[in-house]
């Protein structure tokens, strides 16, 4: 069963410059589904509308046309950012609150929901432990490295347990080593928690490496160019994926399509 279904989604921005009104079509007739518990990656050229797509899916931006179905509910019209906490969103920037300690950042969603403090403490403690940041609970975000901030931003979303998590090029700005570490953590987390993940990237290797299925978007206005099932066995070779013959075959096939 698909947990997230997108049908004929279109988006155009209206840009006004000096009395002249222009329509910028960013998404055009986009349709795809994400199965429950699946890991789907979306890859597309820079500026094709990937972040826009996620903003629409998460309910921050109204679509111009089309519909979004989350767990059987079809949403159109009124916006509900996060669809009442059914969708988590890891943005391109980590967007931690700079004035809150790591501990207070992570517990933020629980605070909003009025969870009592002792319970918040326990949950935050567990999650910080899980990503190895227990000793940084009392630090401010600017005192952490980029990779650590990503981990904090990830567990801040996990703490309220949304069934679907959207991720927008979350590891784009990290070095290769940290990135692999985070890939490993993300995959093990996904397998344990059975979350449904939609992951955006502009890196083809990353897209194939993590996914059950990868969706290629074309240039703006973006629509689905093609989809690939990634039937490679797990666990995958996260460090040197290109040493794996099956991986390389698939990679080259997708690359050919991607270059078009």
């Amino acid at each position: 069963m698909s947990l997230l279904r997108v049908e004929n989604l279109s988006k155009s921005f209206v840009v006004e410059r000096g009395g002249e009104v222009r329509h910028v079509n960013v998404l055009q007739n986009l349709s795809f589904t994400v199965p429950e518990g699946g890991f789907v990656t979306i890859i597309g050229p820079s500026g094709c509308g990937k972040s826009t797509l996620l903003n629409i899916l998460v309910g921050l931006l109204p679509p111009s046309a089309g519909s979004i179905t989350v767990a059987g509910h079809t949403y159109n019209g009124r916006l509900h950012p996060g669809f009442k906490r059914r969708i988590g969103y890891i943005t391109q920037n980590d967007n931690l609150f700079p004035w809150r300690l790591v501990f207070d950042n992570v517990r933020y969603p629980l605070e909003l929901a009025g969870v009592p403090l002792p319970e918040q403490k326990e949950r935050v403690g567990e999650l910080l432990e899980m990503v190895g940041l227990a000793e940084f609970a009392q630090h401010y975000p600017h005192e952490l490295s980029g990779g650590m901030r990503k981990r904090v931003s990830l567990i801040r979303t996990l703490i309220y347990d949304p069934p679907i998590i959207l991720m927008d090029e979350p590891f784009g700005a990290l070095d290769a080593y940290t990135r692999t570490e985070l890939h490993r953590e993300l995959l093990s987390l996904w397998q344990r928690t059975k979350k449904t993940i939609l992951f955006i990237t502009h890196d083809l290797i990353e897209a194939i490496l993590l996914a059950d299925r990868t969706i290629l978007l074309g240039n703006r206005p973006a629509s689905v160019q093609c989809e690939y099932e990634v039937a490679l066995p797990r666990p995958r070779h996260l460090e040197y994926p290109l040493e794996d013959q099956q991986f390389t075959e698939l990679y080259l096939r997708v690359l050919k399509e991607f270059k078009r």
Binding site: P81, I87, Y160
Partner: protein, 295 residues
């Protein structure tokens, strides 16, 4: 605004402070070195200033420029007679009451109108006009309306504090990172929760900047009010001395004001450091301040 001396300190010493482990001897030694250096610069500046002062009073005569010694004598007389304390108390009372009330109202007003976008837009041209008016010119009117007592000075100080804090807070609210408000919404924050947990805290640096600038202005407003009509306060003290051609008395009043401002700045600096400890060091004190032509 005065730039912090930090940026001009020896960069090598700075790096060592950051990398040397907390509490290590290099770290404390370096810190001490910087302290000594900064304070000896200050000492030199003060000495230089005093020499200039003496030269000026020698060449122009004591009637025009009182000497440091004569100023000190007048000041000492004011302090021992208890007059200094009395007048300082009056002026501080006027300035601070106006500052607290005006600042608070400015803060509340900024949040109130930012919640109604159309209202903010409607008010914009009027606010900008008021922003440009030198508000101190209203002092005579205030005396006319509220009498020569303390009240007119409190209102005047309050007016200045109100506008400075209002404009700064308002700029802060407009400068809130929309990305942060968006992720907060996604995490389930209601609009009211966004206001309280995102907008308010991200405005803090702006509000503090406003409060910091507003305090000396509130003091100035009180003193200018006293210049125009009063029977108490430091402004009165200065006007009184000037009426009697007592140049040393005028100088003594100015020195009193300078000392008060210095103390106030010290207090503000410490409280700012405490409130903004979450900001990276390099960013502290960089918040743009809205204080053009505010007087």
């Amino acid at each position: 605004m005065v730039k912090s001396a930090r940026s001009r300190e020896d960069p090598a010493a700075e790096v060592d402070i950051l990398t040397a482990p907390e509490g290590s001897t290099t770290r404390t030694r370096r810190r001490l070195l910087i302290w000594v250096r900064v304070n000896s610069y200050r000492f030199i500046i003060i000495a230089f200033f005093l020499v200039l002062w003496v030269l000026a009073s020698r060449s122009l005569g004591h009637f025009w420029v009182s000497s440091p010694l004569l100023t000190w004598q007048s000041l000492w007389a004011l302090i021992t007679s208890g007059d200094a304390l009395l007048h300082i108390r009056i002026t501080l009372f006027e300035a601070l009451s106006g500052y607290v009330a005006g600042g608070l109202l400015g803060l509340i007003f900024a949040f109130a109108i930012s919640r109604f976008e159309n209202l903010a837009e409607a008010l914009d041209p009027f606010l900008m006009t008021i922003y440009g008016i030198p508000k101190i010119t209203l002092a005579p009117l205030f005396i006319l309306w509220f009498g020569i007592g303390l009240l007119s000075k409190i209102y005047l100080a309050g007016l200045l504090a109100f506008f400075i804090v209002f404009f700064n807070t308002y700029a802060g609210i407009r400068g809130v990172d929309v990305e942060l408000t968006k992720v907060a919404r996604v995490m389930g924050a209601t609009p009211w929760q966004v206001e309280r947990t995102v907008v308010l805290p991200s405005c803090v640096p702006y509000v503090i900047a406003g409060l910091k600038v507003a305090l000396p202005y509130a003091l100035t407003a009180a003193i200018v009010g006293e210049f125009i009509a009063s029977d108490k306060g430091i402004g009165y003290l200065i006007m009184d001395a000037s009426g009697q051609y007592d140049t040393s008395g005028v100088f003594a009043g100015v020195v009193l004001i300078a000392v008060i401002i210095m103390l106030i700045n010290e207090i503000l600096k410490t409280s700012e450091r405490r409130l903004l400890k979450w900001r990276p060091q390099e960013e502290r004190g960089t918040t743009r301040v809205e204080d053009r032509e505010v007087l």
